[in-house]
């Protein structure tokens, strides 16, 4: 990362006022990020979403589980800002609580995939030889299942619910993280500074933890952010099919599905949760794109 950041600075127009001050690589990343309006929009969406999820009980106008039978599928009004669902529950409140499920599943799944997949990629890339061969063939097997079908197979085996959905999403993401990290490690381990450290007698654990890992954190953050978007979509899709998060929990995918039966007469039941999914996914995609461009523009073609 050190080397690549410096190189990209020289290709950028320098601002006169800043030229005299010492510049840190982190400062450069932040500056490039702030200049990118779309990236800031993404950051804004993600921050708002996080606040919404944490403060759901404070923000939600109604109890997401309380159903008023007289108001079944009520149209949006002052009483129900986004209308009520098929059981007379406030859709806005359910969307607000649904952000908790979406974020929880995505954060846990992507976190687990980063640790497991990243670990596999680190070992495979650094060890090389037959270890690399065996590990990556295993990952190839998982990658041979088209998107969603691996998750469906896993969920059909484990059963549904929040934890099981998280596991399915994590397993789906593991091989992708392993490949990204392995690719990074393969280029890093031949770099002069790593070879120098090795020549000085650094052992494998030290090489991995001190010299290699810190330099793959940037691409991991970018990849993680883009995968948050995919993880949220996958959870929503599983829940939509009835294989993911189960009622009465408020999941956006589930809410879209529950409105399907009344689509002809009351499209608002389906529409609003879908918009919530779209804005959230868009936010993570914008953030990921922005981080990638800010950290290392040359990664653009790789993810």
């Amino acid at each position: 990362m050190h080397i690549s950041t410096r190189e990209s600075i020289t290709t950028e127009p320098r601002e006169i006022g800043l030229a005299a001050k010492p510049r840190s690589p982190a400062g450069d990343v932040a500056r490039r990020f702030v200049r990118n309006r779309l990236a800031l929009a993404g950051l804004f969406i993600v921050v708002m979403l996080t606040i919404t999820a944490i403060a759901a009980p404070v923000i939600a106008p109604k109890d997401p589980a309380a159903s008023t039978l007289g108001d079944t599928r009520a149209r949006p009004s002052r009483e129900y800002l986004l209308g009520a669902d098929e059981l007379g529950r406030d859709i806005l409140s359910r969307i607000i609580y649904g952000s908790r499920v979406a974020l929880l599943v995505a954060v846990l799944a992507v976190g687990a995939a980063t640790l497991v997949g990243g670990g596999i990629g680190l070992i495979a890339g650094f060890a090389g030889g037959w270890i690399d061969e065996v590990l990556m063939r295993l990952m190839d097997i998982l990658l041979a299942f088209p998107y969603l079908l691996l998750a469906i197979a896993i969920v059909s085996a484990l059963g549904s619910g929040v934890e099981k959905t998280t596991i399915a999403v994590a397993i789906w993401a593991v091989p992708n993280f392993a490949r990204v990290v392995r690719g990074q490690v393969l280029t890093l381990k031949e770099r002069d500074y790593v070879l120098a450290a090795r020549a000085l007698g650094a052992r494998t654990p030290r090489l991995l933890l001190v010299h290699i890992t810190p330099n793959i954190i940037a691409p991991i953050i970018v990849f993680g952010s883009l995968y948050m978007a995919n993880a949220i979509l996958l959870e929503a899709a599983l829940s939509f099919l009835g294989l993911g998060v189960q009622p009465p929990q408020a999941s956006w995918g589930l809410m879209v599905a529950s409105g399907r039966d009344f689509l002809r007469v009351d499209p608002h039941v389906t529409t609003f949760p879908g918009i919530a999914i779209m804005i959230t996914v868009l936010g993570f995609n914008l953030l990921g794109d922005g981080l990638r461009d800010a950290m290392d523009p040359r990664l653009r073609n790789r993810f």
Binding site: P146, L149, F240, L241, V256, G259, P273, G274, M278, L286
Partner: protein, 291 residues
């Protein structure tokens, strides 16, 4: 492929509901259960069953559906052309629209059209296709009554499912085409072509696009996986009698033989398509040879 079969078996293996108990109902006697278990081969340990399944698959026998007692191969044979046609239609749409938009974007990078196209591409790939499908269903089938609500038949049945399925891929392909083309446009041979006095359009179509297509094609291969998976969702929404709906039906019926066969078919199709795409590189770039 053997690994794929093993993972498929392993997952369906863990299904919590016991299919045997489910088939016989609550009042089954233990000896009935044991007999059925033996009939399904479930009394054997996993490695034995795995070996047997692999041998059966090699001879084209995927077992019988627990739910309908029809051979799984027949069930799949009935529906897979529907899924293939839908996926290919969506892929064609995604390639045509995605590459076109990407090229237009790359002609004037950072211009108004490019910015607009990039934002639209991002929105497209952020869209949950099951939701997009439902919205289109409401607007074009219920409200304007332009297209049928679901099922197969005329060409009109294809429009909505194909668009819903293709939308995320259009976004991804246009982004990929744009950035790949911009990379190529910076190369020396493009400058040479310009120096020869060639016009912009000719440079892009004859020189740049061909060289930019390799990374785009590899993404097309990966996108096919997305499309096959997405077919599960679009088929559910548009009552499309395909492999995706069959899989979902199998999952809900705890029909593990059917789910195994269907998931396996999906994985095989995906692997096969990527093989074809690898081979197509030699056509796009004559420097690549396969011996």
């Amino acid at each position: 492929m053997l690994g794929v079969i093993f993972v498929t078996m392993l997952t369906t293996e863990l299904i919590p509901g016991d299919p045997v108990a489910l088939m016989l109902g609550e009042n089954a006697r233990p000896e009935q259960e044991a007999a059925l278990r033996k009939h399904l081969g479930l009394d054997q340990p996993l490695p034995v069953r795995y070996a047997r399944y692999v041998l059966n698959v090699a001879t084209g026998d995927l077992g019988r559906s627990i739910q309908t007692n029809r051979p799984v191969l027949d069930e799949i044979r009935d529906v897979w052309p529907n899924t293939l046609v839908l996926a290919v239609a969506a892929m064609a749409l995604a390639i045509v629209v995605g590459v076109t938009v990407g090229v237009i974007s790359a002609v004037r990078p950072y211009g108004i059209i490019d910015s607009l196209a990039r934002v639209l591409a991002l929105i497209g790939l952020s869209m949950p296709i099951f939701w997009l499908g439902l919205v289109m269903l409401y607007v074009f089938a219920y409200y304007f009554r332009l297209f049928p609500v679901g099922g197969t038949g005329s060409w009109k049945h294809y429009i909505l499912p194909a668009i819903a399925l293709a939308t995320p891929s259009i976004g991804i392909l246009s982004r990929m085409t744009r950035s790949s083309l911009l990379d190529v446009m910076g190369e020396d041979f493009i400058r040479t072509a310009r120096a020869k006095g060639l016009r912009g359009a000719s440079i892009i179509t004859r020189h740049a696009l061909r060289n930019a297509m390799i990374p785009v094609m590899s993404v097309v291969g990966l996108q096919f996986g997305q499309l096959l998976g997405g077919a599960v969702l679009t088929e559910t929404i548009f009552s499309w009698p395909g492999l995706g709906r069959l899989t979902v039906r199998g999952v809900f019926a705890r029909d593990f033989v059917l789910v195994q066969g269907a998931v396996l078919t999906f994985a095989m199709a995906f692997v096969l398509i990527n093989l074809l795409i690898d081979l197509s590189y030699a056509y796009i770039d004559p420097r690549i040879h396969y011996d």
